[in-house]
Symmetry: C3
Subunit: 133 residues, 3 copies
């Protein structure tokens, strides 16, 4: 058993805070102590953890990544024009693992869980697995 | 108990699709639902998930990383000449965690699991742990 | 139940080897086989695995990251002046998952576990969860 979060992204590059949805799934699972694995189902969108207080943290990160791997990089050969998106996913990572404590994902004061869209807008899925232990 | 996949890489930078081997290990484990952790045993080779349909996705990623961290970066002090390889591993990541569902690793349509060699050719090992839950 | 490692960092950018502390926690847990998840509690410090033999590997990585994301990047808007730190965490990753075998974290010959400080000096926490399976 695993859970699916469905998302609709609006922009080519976008970070969507899914912390609330993850917290809800952990609570509903009834697991008090364990591990939660959060996975992107896609190769042009990843998962990361970063600050959820000031939105400029996410926009600065997105902007940095766009300059680091420009969509029009001339030596890219993949003919769908989204090698930048694929590259960003391998940099950011396709998933995160969280500790579950006292029925909640363990997060620092400023930590939020983000779906990192790099080739939107698209309909997307995030898979969540919670195990007790 | 964990499993070991042995690989022989052919190039300094190379992405090797290990999806089939991971699927086989998950099937053989008999675990129906749980988590699978896939770890590189090395500090100059990592693990990532990316597209396994068009091989230019991997060659574009490899090419991007070579330009991002050139092997001959002049300020590198490590005298084995492979600080680029070490740096790439920390960017890409040393391991991935997968959800196991219905006796198989849960992967999106285009997702494959890759061993990312950054200092080959070498004999390499990947460790795989599958737990039920 | 999870464990906390407390750290005091001395520099803005710094990699601290926490392998010994992780090994000690795994031994004390009594878990013989399973998984260990090591998480940074912060959004400006991450966790990675890299070589723990020659210290120039870590200093080269830190130096590379400082040049990749300069602290004074002019288009950064986040007014705390540490968008570089946040960006580096999403590149390096906020956590790692390890295999536990025979009562010890499974690590390759040269692999060490590092707390990667990108906005020190600060008092920091690392959370460690060990599950049997």
């Amino acid at each position: 058993m695993y859970q699916t979060i469905k998302l609709k992204t609006d922009n080519r590059n976008e970070m969507i805070d899914i912390t609330g949805q993850i917290k809800k799934l952990v609570t509903e699972s009834g697991v008090k102590d364990g591990i939660c694995v959060v996975c992107s189902a896609h190769t042009t969108a990843g998962i990361t953890i970063n600050e959820n207080a000031d939105p400029t943290v996410c926009s600065d990160l997105t902007c940095f990544l766009e300059k680091l791997v420009p969509a029009d990089t001339e030596y890219f050969e993949h003919d769908e024009g989204n090698s930048d998106s694929h590259s960003k996913v391998s940099l950011i990572g396709p998933s995160v693992s969280l500790i579950v404590d006292d029925g909640q994902p363990l997060l620092g004061t400023w930590q939020g869980i983000y779906f990192a869209e790099f080739d939107g807008p698209r309909d997307r899925k995030v898979w969540v697995k919670i195990i007790s232990g």
